[in-house]
């Protein structure tokens, strides 16, 4: 596309030509796909959830306040309880455990790879991390059950750690998202211009100072983005938790003991989707209600995190 500029006028870009306008419109459409996706998710989730609340005996208030989750019988029966708090509690417990593992390991690796590692080491480890991010979660689920659980049982005593517990799943979920956090955070740190580092070294700063007080803050927006993506992935993790954490919502809330069996929101979705309940029944429609809640929770987290990113963003 070569075209000589007509003289005069300020050095701002000329008005886009027709071809360019079309391209820009196409680009806009690409971005709009995301809106369509969200609208689709909202319609499907909330629409189906609404049809569940229309079933007599299922109340929205109970959904949010009741402390037991047993949507398996008829709503009129005594056993029926539809409180989502146990599921929510389980999800948050496991996610917290996962982040406890993933943030130090992930960010530590990122700082090491970007500031300390010699180029050859970096060239081998980085692709390794990227590849290992693709380990199927079903494999990690079995790893949690057959390796992590026995390990925890021998360390903490078999009487304290049941076969299905939140800690095994939480730790393995943390391990799962370490590559995600490390990779994106490391990209953000390597993107920090060399000039900043060189300036600091020129002033006699140590490597530690440069890494932790110059590069890290400079890359903060990318680092927080990495942590957000990791967090979101942890909250939504399905197979590891359903294999290793169990399918029993905790009875005493708030549940903070990591050595107990739990059932996360995603584990319930898997249980009900693969199960025998017909569409239209409370058990099945509850999938969408739980899914809608999951969606809202992640949305709220993201909003919070994005505010944080905007505050600390440094421009070059």
């Amino acid at each position: 596309m070569s075209q000589a500029r007509t003289g005069g006028g300020p050095l701002t870009a000329s008005r886009p030509r027709h071809g360019e306008r079309a391209v820009l419109a196409l680009l806009w459409l690409c971005a709009a796909v995301s809106v369509v996706t969200t609208v689709g998710i909202v319609i499907v989730l909330f629409g189906e959830a609404a049809s569940m609340f229309r079933i007599p005996g299922v109340s929205v208030i109970e959904f949010f306040t009741d402390t037991a989750w047993r949507p398996f019988t008829d709503p009129s029966s005594e056993q029926f309880r539809i409180g989502v708090l146990p599921l929510l509690n389980s999800t948050l417990l496991i996610t917290a455990l996962a982040m406890l593992v993933a943030i130090p390991l992930g960010l530590g690796s990122a700082v090491y790879l970007s500031e300390y590692a010699p180029p050859r080491v970096r060239k081998t480890i980085k692709p390794a991390l990227e590849t290992l991010a693709g380990i199927p979660t079903v494999v990690l689920g079995f790893f949690a059950l057959t390796f992590m659980t026995p390990l925890l049982r021998s360390v903490f005593g078999a009487e304290n750690v049941p076969i299905f517990n939140a800690a095994s799943a939480g730790i393995v979920v943390g391990i799962l998202i370490v590559p995600t956090i490390a990779s994106i955070a490391e990209d953000a740190m390597t993107a920090v211009p060399r000039m900043l580092r060189e300036g600091a070294y020129g002033l006699g700063a140590s490597k530690r100072h440069v890494a932790l007080r110059v590069v890290f803050p400079a890359a903060l927006s990318g680092i927080v983005a990495a942590v957000i993506l990791g967090f979101g992935r942890a909250i939504g993790e399905t197979l590891i938790v359903s294999l290793a954490a169990g399918n029993l919502p905790p009875a005493d809330l708030p549940a903070v003991n990591p050595f107990q069996q739990v059932q996360t929101m995603t584990a319930y979705i898997v249980q009900a989707v693969g199960g025998e309940s017909p569409r239209g029944s409370v058990t099945f429609q509850a999938i969408f209600a739980v899914g809608a809640l999951l969606f809202v929770v992640t949305f709220a987290m993201n909003l919070l995190a994005q505010r944080f990113v905007r505050r600390f963003r440094e421009e070059y």
Partner: protein, 326 residues
């Protein structure tokens, strides 16, 4: 990037004339080419099957053998669960055969009627649900229905001596299939329904994956659980099977006791076939082959063969249905 769009558009356009997927009528998917065939004729086309994850591996074993006889046939087999299978069978109508680990339910019958789908129920085998405990829990060898109710019922106890005063006071831990599985439904039907109990205890370790139940039972002294016979056969030296006394004495699960109906926790395995599909030579051939071959493969898969009488009866039903469908 424009190239990317163009490529995408081209590909979608080129393939847009592809198969018309199922809508709400009940079209027969896949193309067939042979006419009026029976065994021996070369078949081609595709068969769509879905349903129980218990029966799935059995149907797949048949498909595996069938592929060596009829290599041009494509068998697409899903395992969405018995309920999911019936939904596709009766409502969307996009499968010809539904695998089921329980008989079709009333509301599913109504659904099929609503959509004008007539079907034939074909019994293909038996599963002997087995109760198990960990290998060092040696004080329990047999349980009566009442004892099981005290373990599994809504007021499930937490210690073995509450099940039977002769047992030691060891803590009891329950592992079982999740509330959404056919196995769970069947167990409740046999154990709880006769005493008019609606649902079991709510605090057990549930899993959709029977291997996970096995892990739980093996690793926990004082455990109690149940799962399909195939899983017991594979873990025989790591768990202890519990005999069931349904009122006529303690009976251990085995091929023989399941076949002569003395083991009362055995459940029939079915395939349901659309009658109009039986009118197609491809499906008719496959189902006939199924019944001829099932007893050769079922023990490899881990279940109990249907008795010769049961199979003969099923074969006769199928023959009639094929003839009726023309």
């Amino acid at each position: 990037m424009i190239a990317g769009f163009a490529a995408l558009a081209l590909i979608l356009a080129a393939c847009g004339g592809g198969e018309d997927p199922a809508t709400d009528e009940a079209p027969a998917p896949g193309e067939e080419s042979s006419e009026g065939g029976s065994d021996g004729e070369s078949q081609s086309g595709s068969i769509e099957i879905d349903g129980s994850s218990t029966v799935g591996p059995l149907t797949d074993a048949i498909a595996e053998e069938y592929a060596s006889v009829q290599p041009d046939v494509i068998v697409n087999l899903g395992i969405s669960g018995t309920g999911g299978g019936f939904e596709r069978f009766c409502e969307t109508g996009d499968i010809q055969i539904s695998n089921a680990s329980r008989p079709i339910a009333e509301d599913e019958v109504a659904l099929c009627e609503e959509n004008g789908i007539e079907y034939t129920e074909v019994r293909v085998g038996t599963d002997a649900l087995t109760m198990v405990t960990s290998i060092d829990t040696d004080f329990v060898t047999c349980l009566t229905t009442e004892e099981i109710v005290s373990i599994w019922g809504p007021d499930g106890v937490s210690s073995w001596d509450q099940v039977n005063p002769e047992f030691p006071a060891e803590p009891l831990q329950v592992f079982a299939p999740g509330v959404d599985s056919g196995t769970y439904d069947f167990f409740n039907e046999v154990i709880l329904e006769p005493s008019e109990i609606e649902s079991p205890r709510q605090d057990f370790s549930a899993s959709e994956d029977d291997n996970v139940i096995a892990q739980g039972v093996i690793g926990t002294p004082g455990s109690w659980g149940f799962f399909g016979f195939a899983y017991y056969q594979e873990t025989q030296d790591q768990v202890r099977a519990i005999e069931f006394d349904g009122g006529e004495g303690c009976v251990a699960p085995s091929v023989e006791t399941a076949q002569d109906d003395s083991y009362l926790l055995s459940r029939p395995l079915f395939i349901y076939v659309r009658n109009d599909a039986l009118g197609e030579p491809l499906v008719a051939d496959f189902v006939t082959y199924y019944l001829e071959t099932v007893n050769d493969v079922i023990e490899d898969v881990g279940y109990v063969p249907a008795t010769d009488d049961e199979l003969a009866e099923a074969a006769a039903t199928v023959e009639d249905a094929i003839a009726a469908a023309g």
